[in-house]
């Protein structure tokens, strides 16, 4: 935690009120997001219990698995949820612009879940569904594997920083607001909302006390409150089982209705709270560079959509050596770019970076606007130098490439020298880009003495790392002799007998 964000948390604690950490919302917020509140059964990994799903606050659909240990019911649930989600996703596969390679959908779906646990629950559901066969023994409806593959795609994509197709609401809230509670407590949607926007009749303290009482604010999932499980859920499931064994249609319908009502009571408060959080987030202006990142989402969505249309295979259980290395490179790159984008757009985030010495803001004290150099190709190019005086604790070294939010886009500079004297630092920069094509820099592209200016490191362009071909894993990363499979990875470790013997 940086000094400034720590300060914001302390401030929030002292004033008992959430403090904004950023000037903007750095995540795209769709005009028509799909909210899913998943609940899972305790004690069995990835056994869904219920989900509430819908793209408007007023028309949420509640889906319940009456006996979560029954796999037929489980996949019937997956099929129902899958149909709703796939209808939603398909509604974005309509409007396409551009030709050939550049052709892509203009919008992308956005699924919002209450908390990071919700993403994990969808990942488990995707893993459960995507390999299922639609024919032969234990066949599932066609939509199930399709849904599983799309869920897996969304979960994988959500690992990349700055993306917006699948997001936990708590993460969007904590990116913008600092509260007086710990990071762990911030993952509780109810107490987070208590800090940011307590119900009108309550103080933050009262709202927080309510948020921690599972009878007033049931947990936002995926796990339910243990007390609810023992007191209400287990007996209700038992009654359902009994009714089913007896084959009494009347009792069965009654037991099912009772379960739905119980679960609705647990899930609806969270449902309402997610929509309340969404409208709060809508009131925060969106950062300028978010639109550009959203184009990346649209591209990924289009690519995967085309891959599915061409009958692509489900995602692997585990990454291959080359796939993992490629993914790591992509994730690191995206994180660096997202952090840079946020600081570029947002004064608050920039201040945070400045306090850590990773950016600076100062006044131009000296300028050599007319300086030129001759390149290797014997061309005279403008390379003006300016000296910036700052009181920030700069920790950037010479040769660092910089960009500036205070000058026209395309402006690039390199640090020539950094001279620190007590609390004042003088940084000499050479401007290397964004001055137009002429021999004389365009008006307004070179900072003038007295001008206030901020700089931060350029995440820059780097060529994508080149790895060996996917089918030729080299000897360092694969065991020799084994045809195709890597004996160090037990491929059948997750193999399971599958049936309904319970």
């Amino acid at each position: 935690m940086s000094t400034l964000s720590a300060l914001a948390h302390v401030q929030a604690m002292e004033s008992m009120q959430a403090v904004p950490l950023t000037e903007f919302r750095h995540r795209h917020l769709s005009g028509r997001p799909l909210v899913i509140v998943p609940l899972a059964m305790a004690g069995e990994a990835g056994a869904p219990l219920a989900a509430m799903v819908g793209s408007a606050k007023r028309n949420g659909t509640l889906l319940v698995v009456a006996q979560p240990r029954n796999r037929d019911q489980r996949f019937a649930f997956a099929a129902d949820l899958g149909r709703i989600v796939m209808d939603y996703i398909d509604s974005f596969r309509q409007d396409r612009r551009g030709e050939g390679e550049r052709s892509r959908y203009t919008e992308a779906p956005q699924i919002l879940v209450p908390n990071p646990g919700g993403v994990k629950a969808l990942a488990d559901l995707g893993r459960m569904c995507r390999f299922r066969a639609t024919s032969g023994p234990y066949a599932v409806p066609d939509v199930v594997p399709e849904f599983g593959m799309w869920l897996t795609f969304l979960v994988d994509w959500a690992e990349q920083a700055g993306t917006s197709m699948l997001l936990p609401v708590t993460e969007m809230l904590t990116e913008h607001w600092a509260t007086g509670q710990s990071t762990l407590e911030d993952q509780n949607l109810a107490s987070l909302m208590a800090w940011i926007s307590p119900p009108s009749s309550l103080s933050v303290e009262q709202a927080m006390a309510d948020a921690e009482n599972p009878d007033v604010c049931p947990p936002a999932g995926p796990s339910t409150s243990p007390e609810f499980d023992n007191r209400d859920l287990a007996p209700a499931i038992r009654r359902f089982d009994t009714a089913r064994t007896l084959g009494d249609p009347h009792a069965l319908a009654a037991a099912e209705a009772e379960l739905r009502e119980l679960i609705a009571g647990q899930i609806q408060p969270t449902w309402r709270m997610v929509w309340q959080a969404i409208s709060l987030l809508r009131s925060v202006p969106e950062a300028p560079r978010t639109a550009k990142r959203f184009e990346g989402d649209c591209k990924a969505f289009t690519d995967y959509s085309d891959y599915r249309d061409s009958g692509g295979l489900p995602q692997r259980k585990r990454d291959t050596a080359i796939g993992a290395a490629r993914r790591l490179g992509r994730l690191e790159r995206a994180l660096a770019e997202f952090e840079s984008d946020m600081a570029f757009d947002d004064r608050f985030v920039l201040a945070d970076r400045r306090s850590a010495g990773e950016a600076f803001d100062g006044t131009v004290v000296k300028a050599e606007p007319g300086r030129t150099v001759t390149t290797d190709k014997n061309r005279r190019v403008p390379r003006p130098r300016v000296t910036v005086r700052t009181e920030d604790p700069v920790r950037l070294a010479a040769d660092t490439k910089l960009i500036s939010p205070s000058l026209p886009t395309g402006h690039k500079a390199t640090i020539v020298s950094v001279l620190s004297d007590r609390d004042v630092t003088q940084i000499t920069l050479e401007i290397t880009g964004g001055m137009g094509r002429g021999r004389v820099p365009k008006q307004g592209t070179v900072p003038e003495p007295g001008q206030r200016i901020a700089y931060l490191p350029d995440p820059g362009w780097r060529p994508a790392p080149q790895f060996p071909a996917s089918d030729a894993t080299p000897w360092t990363h694969s065991a020799a002799g084994a045809a195709g499979t890597d004996p160090a990875v037990p491929e059948d470790a997750a193999a399971e007998e599958w049936g309904n013997e319970d």
Binding site: A321, A325, L331, A356, G357, P465, F467, T476
Partner: protein, 453 residues
């Protein structure tokens, strides 16, 4: 770091020099033996890793090979090029570099060295040296042998980018130092043998059984006072000894002490025993605690003011210590900044010449006296970052003469109330040394050299 089950046992030889020669011979013999695609050499701190790299490169060249050398940073590449070219004037050495690289003066003065942007520029060179990042941009060339220096600091995904450039590899590195890391927080690869965030050597060994793993048995850097403790704490399965005897190295003051007796007491302890723990009163403080950092700076300043003469095998008649012979090691970059400011505040003219840096940046460097700000000093909790064995290992193994640790009282209690709580994952071998245990060993040793401030 990895568990040590595959290390080839080396015969016990009483004389350090003879043991080192025998180890080198065994490594070269395994390289000459055509059966192994790779040879791994684990090297404790200061065990002559660079010497081995230069020697192996020269042997390969003599055998008609055209080896490449992969290092991790530009400084490491420059140092290796200078050493190779000076020790073997008859071999043409190529330095592959990115555009915009300015060779340091020492490199520019060499006649048998060529700097080039592409392999084509270095067609006449017998040995080509570059960083891993630069090698990753080279296409369509394959060499018989690669020597990978500091291989434990190279991530597995980087190894994957350069592995097609060579047929066989000599992996040299120190398994006890800081592991490579990623800023991306994902758990998806935990337990996979090809986890891209692991170091390249572990991944290569995981997929290739029967690769000979050697170790260098002698630390030429660490004094005889330090080697046993460092070996016990950080290399519990691979013993090594100091290359010098008890009376080869010594530190003496050139002036008598006056005033500042607290600092002097610590310095005397360090000068006579090779270790000192300068313990400040117990307090929970932020890592930027002025008192701790100022004390570290004052100790360095005091050492410079009083003047010290160091005797060692290189300077048997003694040599006065200069600011550049002293380093102050910390855990965080903001601490380093504050220590530099504190050094400036001491008003001693040559104090700013003292090297101040974080463990990550001190890796691979060597000093006469090192002052360490203990990573756990004054903390309320022991996080994985502050407990990491590699971090303490780097800090406590940079010195040739003495190591002074500055800490607040209470680290032992902190360790006792924070046992390791890292989650255990399937298929992930237990990590040795364990940070918690390594810290306990170091503390037990330092307790014998404690000076209360």
């Amino acid at each position: 770091m990895r568990t040590d089950t595959s290390t080839t046992p080396e015969p016990a030889v009483p004389c350090p020099a003879a043991a080192a020669v025998a180890a080198t011979q065994a490594i070269l013999a395994d390289m000459a033996d055509g059966r192994h695609r790779a040879v791994v050499v684990d090297s404790p701190p200061g065990a002559g890793k660079s010497t081995l790299v230069v020697r192996a490169a020269q042997e390969l060249t003599e055998g008609g090979e055209r080896p490449i050398i992969v290092a991790q940073t530009n400084n490491q590449v420059d140092d290796l090029v200078v050493r190779l070219a000076r020790e073997h004037p008859g071999i043409a050495v190529g330095r592959l570099s990115a555009t915009g690289y300015n060779p340091p003066p020492a490199l520019g003065a060499l006649t048998n060295t060529t700097v080039g942007r592409t392999l084509a520029d270095l067609a006449g060179c017998r040995i080509i040296v570059a960083t891993a990042a630069k090698w990753a941009t080279v296409r369509d060339a394959t060499f018989g042998w690669a020597i990978l220096d500091e291989a434990y600091q190279m991530r597995s995904d980087m190894l994957l980018q350069i592995v097609e450039r060579f047929e066989r590899g000599l992996f040299v590195g120190d398994p006890g130092q800081l592991d490579p890391f990623t800023i991306v927080g994902t758990e998806r690869w935990i337990g996979l043998p090809h986890d891209p965030t692991q170091n390249g050597v572990s991944v290569m060994l995981e997929h290739n059984r029967n690769i000979p793993v050697h170790r260098l048995p002698v630390s030429w850097r660490l004094p005889s006072s330090a080697a046993p403790t460092i070996a016990q704490a950080f290399y519990p399965f691979t013993h090594f000894t100091a290359g010098t005897g008890d009376d080869t190295r010594a530190l003496e003051f050139s002036t008598a002490g006056l005033a500042r007796t607290d600092l002097d007491e610590t310095l005397v302890q360090a000068f006579t025993t090779g270790w000192a723990l300068h313990e400040l009163p117990r307090r929970h403080v932020p890592r930027t605690d002025t008192q701790t950092l100022q004390t570290a700076a004052d100790l360095a300043g005091r050492l410079l003011v009083r003047g010290a003469v160091a005797t060692c095998e290189r300077h048997p008649d003694g040599r006065p210590l200069k600011a550049g012979d002293i380093a102050i090691g910390v855990a965080h970059r903001d601490q380093a900044d504050l220590v530099r400011a504190a050094l400036a505040r001491t008003g001693i003219p040559n104090a700013p010449g003292v090297a101040v840096d974080t463990a990550n940046r001190l890796q691979g460097r060597e000093f006469e006296v090192v002052i360490v700000v203990h990573p756990l000093s004054g903390r309320r909790d022991a996080t994985a970052f502050h407990l990491e064995a590699g971090r303490l290992c780097v800090l406590a193994s940079r010195h040739r003469q003495a190591c002074i640790v500055v800490a607040r009282e209470g680290i032992a209690d902190l360790l006792d109330s924070h046992p390791s709580t890292d989650p255990v994952h399937l298929s992930v071998p237990a990590k040795f040394p364990d940070g918690w245990e390594a810290n306990q060993v170091m503390l037990a040793k330092l307790a014998q050299h404690r000076v209360a401030a």
